[in-house]
Symmetry: C2
């Protein structure tokens, strides 16, 4: 008689795999990059240091909350630096760190791929959806 049922073993394998996925560097990066506003912020900061209000204007679609949260996440991960100038009213600037800049080539790789292949994706979707409707 086994000490673990097969159901228990499957459950353990499942939990172990999930933990591995969460620790996997690739998945952690994909997760961050997949955040809704991260790509846009990086692209904007690639152009140079930007004030909070500049970013808010450039990312007009993002809510205040999400813009701040995205910037905090990026700051925490070391991609972005935040500097406060205590004037009246205060001025806050964001800029890419070297680590953040090192990520740009990866982002560009995505952009390049997307530009070259997105119409194939669209074509594939149309074909797929056509089959589903018929």
């Amino acid at each position: 008689m086994p000490t673990r049922t097969s159901a228990q073993r499957r459950e353990e394998a499942r939990d172990a795999h999930r933990e591995a996925v969460e620790l996997c560097p690739t998945n952690r990066v994909l997760d961050r990059l997949g955040d809704k506003w991260v790509g846009l912020v990086l692209v904007e900061l690639e152009k140079g240091r930007r004030r909070h209000s500049d970013l808010a204007r450039a990312l007009a679609g993002a809510s205040q909350k999400m813009l701040t949260q995205t910037l905090r996440d990026l700051e925490r991960d070391g991609f972005v630096s935040r500097s406060v100038t205590p004037s009246v009213p205060v001025r806050v600037d964001y800029a890419l760190t070297p680590l953040g800049e090192s990520l740009l080539p990866v982002l560009h790789a995505v952009t390049r791929w997307a530009g070259q292949h997105i119409d194939q994706v669209d074509a594939a979707r149309e074909t797929y959806d056509r089959g589903a409707t018929d």
Copy 2:
């Protein structure tokens, strides 16, 4: 007297920007790549054609529903092909399409970056969190 208040103009800009983001090829790709199980499936299929049950074993952490959904999404986008062998019981194989394979270098770029820089990210986080707690 303006026909639109400034609040209305901001709202319009917000909606326009959001639509632009949704259409943006880069963001569409980042969105897909950011799906929880997409990277893992691509990595597994990179090794070669795989049966559904093989994938289920390799991605032990994913629920049945999410595995199937992920495969459907990838199939719809043209990254993955699905072929059914009507034996008893049925056998279903998944494989990367040329389009899917064209995406691998991008994924590898992410993996390479992650391998080289993830400890810097961890260090940044520790520093950030330390500052917050003190």
